[in-house]
């Protein structure tokens, strides 16, 4: 597994796309830091963009990489390599490579501008951490979908749909439900709704770090209390972990049973 992980990671990191991805984030961060005098608001803008792009790119990249390396997979399958370590190695290779790209793209400008001591180091690190988690989660989901669907077009479509669901459709249903039940106290429902979606949860975790959290009013107070307790944090982290572990188990099971 280690060898395959290493090989895949090198392969991804060396590719033009990974470099473009890193450079894109580095430029984006630099631009926001330069344009806005307020670092706080540049972090918020960065958050809005990364929470859309990181899941999307992780999804697309993983699917494409899987389908493109099918010949290579078939070749390896003919060798005495355990299926589990082959597919897990490949998945972790892709996801880790993307995570490294993100971390570099976001952090390097922060260090170039020497903002490590600006008191916003915590929110910056949260931003990076949240994006790394999202990379692992959405790569896992996409990899699982690709593994399950022999048909490229279908697999690609489903993967894109999974991204669309979490970043758009989910929120639509959520806001619709809130509007229907607005006569009732909804703080706990809003809390539950935000926890089940990794993108929403990441955004809330970010907002709580910044002083914009005060805008959330009463709901925000409920959130602050919830995440202030260790139970809340553990639950939030467990949810993120579940979104990562469940597709991973799917990958393992599917790779065992699939007929290549």
């Amino acid at each position: 597994m280690k060898e395959i992980l290493k090989y895949t990671m090198y392969d991804v990191v060396r590719s033009k796309w990974a470099i473009a991805y890193t450079v894109f984030f580095a430029l984006l961060t630099t631009t926001f830091l330069l344009l806005s005098r307020d670092i706080n608001s540049s972090i918020i803008s960065l958050m809005s963009i990364t929470l859309v792009l990181v899941p999307l790119i992780s999804t697309i990249f993983s699917v494409i990489y899987y389908y493109n390396s099918r010949d290579y997979i078939n070749l390896l399958l003919a060798q005495p390599v355990a299926r589990k370590s082959l597919f897990l190695g490949q998945y972790f290779g892709i996801a880790s490579a993307l995570a490294v790209c993100i971390a570099f793209g976001l952090l390097v400008p922060f260090f170039i501008f020497n903002l490590a001591g600006s008191g916003l180091i915590k929110s910056t690190l949260t931003l990076v951490g949240v994006n790394i988690m999202l990379t692992y989660i959405f790569s896992a989901i996409a990899f699982f979908i690709a593994l399950k669907n022999e048909d490229k077009v279908r697999g690609f479509g489903l993967a894109i749909f999974s991204w669309l669901f979490f970043s758009v459709i989910y929120d639509g249903i959520f806001i619709f439900l809130l509007a229907i039940f607005r006569e009732y106290p909804l703080e706990n429902m809003a809390l539950a709704g935000s926890i089940f979606n990794p993108i929403n949860l990441s955004r809330i975790l970010m907002l709580m770090q910044l002083d914009i959290a005060a805008l959330l009013g009463l709901t925000g107070a409920v959130f602050t209390r919830f995440f202030g307790q260790s139970f809340g944090w553990i639950l939030a982290m467990t949810m993120l972990l579940l979104w990562f572990v469940i597709p991973l188990l799917g990958i393992v099971r599917r790779s065992m049973t699939r007929d290549f």
């Binding site: 929470l51 758009v168 703080e187 005060a214 805008l215």
Partner: protein, 419 residues
């Protein structure tokens, strides 16, 4: 001979006059080794229009009643510790002037309004350059008129509304000038109830639990050039008419229920040339009529202005709205208020003839503002991709946002000079 007579007569008159002045304004000193060791005895001995000098030292005295016109001057801020009684100084005569004293430790009471300096039923008073520290109420005025409160520094450490008083408290007063005071850590910084024709100028009000400045049933007042920072709400104006608010700075009143300026049931007010910077809500308006908002700056607030129902004939023009999370939020769909001629940093229209006025109207109420107003919990979707999509589609084809609420002549250039 005749000239000599005049000369002597003049001398006589001058002597007499000098004698009179000496008599009328005797000076009495209070210190540990003066004739008077206590302020109380000095005040009791003093005649009207005397001057009492209090030299540096610690005076453990409370409830010092001043019932004749006196000037009391502290030198080097003598400390008056009032922990043994109810209040510090109690003024019950006209033309009293107090300056340079440092009053500390008035005990909290739930039965009576204890204060560092109480002014009861009198006029022409001057309270200048005093320090008051941990005095339940700082300066407390009832039925007082034509006085000046200036240059005082009033500090406390209030933790909760129930157990704290106001730094400067006025009840049934008129023509009072409150100038250049620093008030912090109280319930309200400055509180006015049934106060008329008074002026509040150049004060600094910070870290008060409730409001920096609070008007109740107080008409025809003005407050200018003040700074309100990090209070529960900067200023609350309630049930008052003809209030003039100019050149103030409302800053960092930040918290889930914090406002820069809170207006409730007020009429005919002017809000001109103020700056609202980084408040959770810049101005919250409820039931207000005929109010002019002109040449104000709203920067980096959560909500710049929130207007709730029952607001008619308000005019909002010539203001800058820069980088607020929500520029405007209103739950009324009618167009009884005017929003024309402002600069909105979120405006993305065009100006083909370059006359500084955008060619398409601007709608400051986005769909998300509307949704949050209807369902406050939806605010958890703040900054999400879905909300951006939603706002965009609503902008292209407005269905829900109030039709009348728009700026027909949005400025494309920021208003610069605000003088």
């Amino acid at each position: 001979m005749f000239q000599r007579a005049i000369f002597f007569r003049t001398i006589l008159w001058v002597c007499l006059l000098a004698f009179c002045t000496v008599v009328s304004a005797a000076e009495i000193k209070v210190c540990s080794d003066c004739d008077h060791q206590q302020i109380k005895t000095a005040v009791a001995q003093a005649k009207s229009y005397d001057t009492v000098y209090v030299l540096p030292g610690l005076y453990a005295e409370a409830d010092i009643i001043i019932d004749k016109p006196l000037t009391l001057i502290g030198q080097g801020f003598p400390r008056i510790d009032a922990s043994s009684g109810k209040s510090g100084l109690i003024i019950r005569a006209d033309s009293v002037s107090i300056s340079g004293v440092h009053i500390v430790n008035v005990q909290v009471s739930h039965l009576d309004d204890r204060a560092g300096i109480r002014v009861e039923d009198c006029k022409e008073f001057r309270l200048t350059n005093n320090h008051l520290t941990n005095t339940f109420f700082g300066i407390y005025l009832q039925h007082a008129k034509r006085g000046i409160i200036s240059g005082n520094i009033i500090k406390a450490n209030a933790k909760e509304e129930m157990n704290s008083g106001n730094a400067i408290h006025l009840w049934y007063c008129n023509n009072v000038e409150i100038v250049a005071n620093e008030v912090s850590g109280h319930r309200d910084g400055i509180y006015l109830e049934f106060v008329k024709e008074s002026l509040i100028r150049e004060n600094l009000s910070t870290n008060n639990i409730r409001y920096g400045l609070h008007f109740m049933f107080s008409d025809h007042n003005e407050y200018l050039d003040n700074i309100f920072r990090n209070n529960g709400a900067g200023v609350a104006v309630m049930f008052s008419k003809f209030i003039n608010m100019r050149n103030n700075l409302f800053e960092e009143n930040w918290g889930a229920t914090s406002y820069g300026l809170l207006l409730k049931e007020i009429y005919d007010a002017e809000i001109i040339n103020n700056r609202f910077i980084k408040n959770c809500t810049g101005i919250y308006v409820e039931g207000c009529t005929r109010i002019n908002y002109k040449r104000n700056n709203f920067e980096g607030n959560g909500w710049a202005i929130r207007i709730s129902g029952g607001c008619v004939s308000n005019e909002i023009s010539g203001n800058n709205f820069i980088g607020n999370s929500f520029d405007l939020s209103t739950n009324s769909s009618s167009s009884e208020n005017s929003f024309d001629g402002n600069f909105w940093s979120a405006y993305d229209g065009y100006d083909l003839d370059h006359d500084g006025v955008g060619d398409v109207p601007y709608r400051p109420v986005k769909l998300f503002n509307y949704i949050v107003d209807q369902t406050p919990e939806a605010v958890v979707l703040l900054r999400s991709f879905f909300i951006d999509l939603l706002n965009f589609s609503e902008k292209v084809n407005p269905l829900y946002t109030p039709k009348g609420v728009m700026d027909n002549f949005p400025r494309t250039v920021k208003f610069n000079s605000h003088d």
